[in-house]
């Protein structure tokens, strides 16, 4: 218990140190490269603001979830240690979604203009990402075939609801007609947000699959094969969601998102 409290305190200190650190040139350049943005004097602050806000909220989310978990264990004198990685990552994921809420849109005075190109959630994610998301869900169901893990199921359902809500918020955010560089940056921040939400969902669902498959009785006979499939699939899901999905967004998926 004391170890957990110390760990939470250390994490909070680390976050406060990381939060005051400005976005480095390297991080900024990497984001611009990933999304094919040409940095300009007007879109630069928009990107830096987005990167700073999302990093701050994700870190606060991770630390917040750790603190809640520690308080829960102290208040209810619980000896059962919850899955620390799932808790930590769930906080990071929820923080990332919360970071998308305060995004405002500059509403110009005078005539208002809008594009007639429809924005859909699937326009922002690549087909491979959708397949990985469905694959991780299938693995999760497989992991629960032998023994239903209620906490993992509840976490996965919460992840799906949060992810859908987050993506809808990002897609429905107003997009007035802006200068080309600003529009590029706006579209890139939307794609980054959707990619992070999808990637985070894949990671969390894979973690939940591992969590569910690791509980209950030790696998025997044919269930060893199922366990092995879930284990290997979840590891692939973890790597894909964390590394591949957020860094493979340079090519615009399916259709041009910028208005003609």
């Amino acid at each position: 218990m004391a170890m957990l409290a110390i760990f939470a305190l250390l994490a909070a200190t680390l976050v406060s140190v990381l939060c005051v650190r400005p976005i480095s040139r390297r991080e900024f350049a990497w984001f611009c490269f990933q999304y094919g943005i040409t940095p300009t004097a007007s879109n630069g602050p928009l990107i830096v603001d987005y990167l700073t806000r999302t990093r701050r909220w994700r870190l606060f989310g991770a630390v917040g979830s750790l603190s809640v978990m520690t308080c829960w264990m102290i208040v209810f004198k619980s000896n059962r240690s919850p899955n620390l990685i799932v808790v930590l990552f769930a906080g990071w994921f929820a923080g990332g979604i919360l970071a998308e809420l305060p995004v405002g849109t500059r509403r110009a005075t005078g005539p208002r203009a809008a594009s007639l190109v429809p924005r859909r959630p699937l326009s922002y994610v690549q087909a491979a990402t959708q397949r990985f998301l469905l694959g991780s869900l299938a693995l999760f169901l497989l992991a629960n075939a032998r023994h239903l893990h209620v906490a993992a199921i509840a976490t996965t359902l919460a992840v799906l609801v949060l992810a859908w809500w987050g993506i809808s918020t990002v897609v429905r955010r107003p997009q007035p007609v802006l200068a080309t560089d600003l529009e590029q940056a706006d579209t890139a921040t939307r794609r980054a947000a959707v990619a992070r939400i999808c990637g985070g969902s894949i990671v969390l669902i894979s973690l939940c699959a591992l969590w569910a498959s690791g509980s209950g009785r030790a696998p025997t006979g044919g269930s060893v094969v199922v366990y092995a499939v879930v284990f290997v699939g979840s590891l692939v899901g973890l790597l894909t969601g964390w590394l591949w999905v957020p860094t493979r967004m340079r090519r615009a998926p399916r259709e041009r998102m910028v208005s003609a």
Binding site: P111, R112, L116, P174, P176, V177, S259
Partner: protein, 123 residues
């Protein structure tokens, strides 16, 4: 494909939007079958009430220009209604009147209006 709404115009926003979508369909920029944004998306992008956009879509639907197919969204009709000569003349007059009204509100003289129109026609 951009639409613009002038909040200072005496023409109500739903009518401004309707006229522009009709012009875009007529001009071929919105070909038959092309999907239109949802009411909520267009309302938030233009800063208008969803009811205003819904009214525009309803009127376009009544005119047979667009179709709403439940979950598949709103699309430009595959079979656009034929415009008869009288209706075509009326729409042209409306468009010209709108142009002249906007130009006059900017303080343009008849000569300036003519010159601009001629310039546009020659490009």
């Amino acid at each position: 494909v951009i639409v613009a709404i002038d909040p200072d115009s005496p023409v109500p926003p739903y009518e401004q939007l309707r006229a522009q979508i009709v012009a875009l369909i007529g001009g071929g920029q919105l070909p038959p079958g092309s999907q239109l944004p949802t009411v909520r998306q267009l309302a938030s992008d233009l800063g208008l009430a969803p009811g205003t956009i819904a009214r525009t879509y309803r009127e376009l639907e009544d005119g047979g220009l667009i179709e709403t197919r439940g979950r598949h969204g709103t699309r430009v009709s595959e079979r656009l209604p034929k415009v008869n000569a009288a209706e075509r003349r009326r729409r042209l007059t409306d468009a010209a009147a709108e142009f002249v009204r906007s130009a006059r509100s900017l303080g343009a003289t008849n000569i300036e209006i003519e010159a601009h129109l001629r310039g546009l026609l020659e490009t």
